[in-house]
């Protein structure tokens, strides 16, 4: 157990070391993130005064949550591609630790890193838009956010499988999945505006429920009790998606070890 904990810590530490080494890029990405969020929020300011505050918050919630959830998905899904690119995948995968520990380390880092970046963007939003949300139920919103972590980890694990299966196209496919989630989850608009055939996809995305419940808690000040149900449903879907993701990942790893695709770069 102690050995696994030490390994877990070393994976998280390694990734934070990498952030430090790529600090220039981190600053650029963060800057772009902030500017992108502010730009989206500014759309709200173009509306009549009576709708401004609400629209800005509506859009900001979307931008912030998407920021967090997409980082979560991206970091987990790209873990394999990243190791392949660095040429370390074989070293990491032949270490005497359970694959669960490795993946849990990647997920833990993704959560911490996602929270850190989202907090910085949130501070920028608060500084830029002076909107007050007096009736917001922040605890409820946090509960929803907490509930959405697990299903997104599950999705990330499934996404991480793709580079294992297809060396060349796997990483590209994870970007496509991320794009589809952005389109169908109602990040900046209600899913009701989507054509019916696309709306079916939105029902399958955990982000749809996260966004709807968070907006209900923050904009309408719904009590924590009213979002507990959604949060539990999200967690429940996580309890299905995470083991499923792990099973798919380990099966794909076995497949890659049969085919000899663990090693190749590109």
């Amino acid at each position: 157990m102690g050995r696994e904990a030490r390994a877990l810590g070393s994976i998280v530490r390694r990734n934070f070391h990498l952030i430090r080494r790529y600090l220039g890029w981190e600053v650029v990405f963060l800057f772009y993130n902030i500017v992108n969020t502010l730009t989206i929020g500014l759309i709200g300011l173009s509306l009549p005064p009576s709708q401004r505050a609400k629209t800005v918050v509506y859009l900001a919630i979307g931008a912030l949550l998407w920021n967090f959830l997409s980082i979560l998905f991206q970091e987990i899904a790209n873990a394999v591609s990243w190791e392949r690119w660095e040429g370390t995948i074989e070293y990491s995968f032949m270490a005497p630790i359970h694959r669960l520990t490795y993946l849990f380390g990647v997920c833990l880092y993704a959560v911490l890193y996602g929270l850190l970046r989202t907090m910085i963007v949130l501070l920028a939003i608060m500084f830029f838009f002076h909107v007050s949300i007096r009736h917001a139920d922040w605890m409820g919103a946090l509960l929803v956010l907490f509930g959405s972590v697990l299903p997104f980890i599950g999705l990330g694990l499934m996404g991480a499988v793709l580079p294992l299966i297809s060396t060349e196209r796997g990483a590209q496919a994870t970007q496509i999945i991320q794009g589809v989630l952005l389109l169908v989850s109602g990040v900046y608009y209600p899913v009701s505006v989507l054509p019916m055939w696309l709306r079916w996809f939105s029902y399958a995305s955990p982000a749809t429920y996260t966004l709807q419940a968070s907006r209900a808690a923050i904009l309408q000040g719904r009590s924590m009790g009213s979002v507990v149900g959604v949060s539990l449903e999200l967690m429940l879907s996580g309890f299905i998606l995470v083991p499923l993701g792990l099973w798919i990942f380990t099966s794909a790893e076995q497949w890659a070890m049969h085919r000899g695709t663990l090693k190749r770069n590109g």
Binding site: G2, R3, R6, A7, G9, S10, I11, R13, R14, H17, L18, R21, Y22, E86, G87, T88, I89, E90, Y91, S92, F93, M94, A95, P96, I97, H98, Q254, M257, H258, R259, G260, L262, K263
Partner: protein, 272 residues
């Protein structure tokens, strides 16, 4: 690991290993599947404390074989045991006993040697402080100053990176070291230092070492036995002296290699 397994006289045993790779390409609407027999029915026994060299031209199956021993590739047929434990059924136990240095030093290039070593130590459950002290000691022995530990790996020469890779492998005190062309691309001095170090590791750490190489002199200097592999098959497996006597007409290992494989290794290397 249980003592009984460790006390096995055989560090490594391969029984009739086969590995075939399939490659799919397209010609219009047609899928063309080509199969490459990378390893063909290899049998091997490596007693504990031995240094076994695997000598073979490029694409002969050396790295594939080492990958299978390192639990990174699953054989299509046959079994591999490390200290009596099957590499597939006891994967975790085997991984605790082995470490591998590959031809391409697999590091996070932006991280310093110290950060890379800390990561490796964590994966193998070695306390970080102990790992750093040990790594410093090993690297000093390999002629690398302490200051290099805080330099990003991408700023070090290939030889220096390879020395750090060896230090990293030794941190975990492996009882079976798999060295896949560890000295390829090193200058003569670094090559000599690494070779001396390999001999020292065997003497001090009670390690069994399997080394694949292109270098005839290296094989002759380091190895107790040399297995020559060609097109996925062992064509000879004997002590260097016997190989030279039986196949080299006393003209050296290169001559023996040429006769056994029908190829000139040096020309092949140069053509790459």
């Amino acid at each position: 690991m249980d003592t009984e397994a460790f006390n096995q006289t055989l560090a490594l045993e391969c029984h009739h290993i086969w590995k075939v790779f399939s490659n799919t390409s397209r010609n219009g609407w047609h899928r063309i599947i080509t199969k490459t027999e990378a390893v063909r029915g290899i049998d091997l026994k490596v007693p504990r404390h031995q240094i076994l060299g695997i000598l073979g031209p490029n694409g002969s199956g050396k790295s594939t074989l080492i990958r299978m021993m390192a639990t990174l590739l699953i054989p299509d047929q046959g079994t591999i045991s490390v200290f009596g434990m099957d590499v597939l059924r006891h994967r975790m136990e085997v991984r605790r006993l082995i470490n591998r240095v590959s031809v391409e030093a697999s590091f996070f290039k932006k991280l310093t040697a110290r950060e890379n070593l800390a990561y490796a130590a964590g994966l193998y459950g070695v306390p970080n402080l102990r790992a750093q002290q040990e790594a410093t000691r090993i690297l000093e022995r390999l002629g690398m100053p302490k200051t290099k530990l805080v330099v990003p790996l991408e700023n070090l020469s290939r030889g220096q990176q390879q020395k750090i890779a060896i230090a990293r492998a030794l941190l975990t005190s492996p009882t079976l070291m798999l060295l896949d062309e560890p000295t390829t691309g090193l200058d003569p001095t670094s090559r000599r230092e690494v070779q001396d170090f390999i001999l020292q590791v065997r003497a001090e750490h009670d390690a069994t070492i399997l080394i694949s190489t292109h270098d005839m002199q290296e094989a002759e200097r380091l190895c107790d036995r040399i297995a020559i592999i060609d097109q996925g098959k062992f064509v000879a497996n004997d002590s260097p002296g016997e190989l030279i006597r039986l196949w080299g007409e006393n003209h050296g290992l290169e001559h023996a290699f040429f006769r056994l494989t029908g190829r000139d290794l040096i020309n092949e290397q140069e053509s790459l």
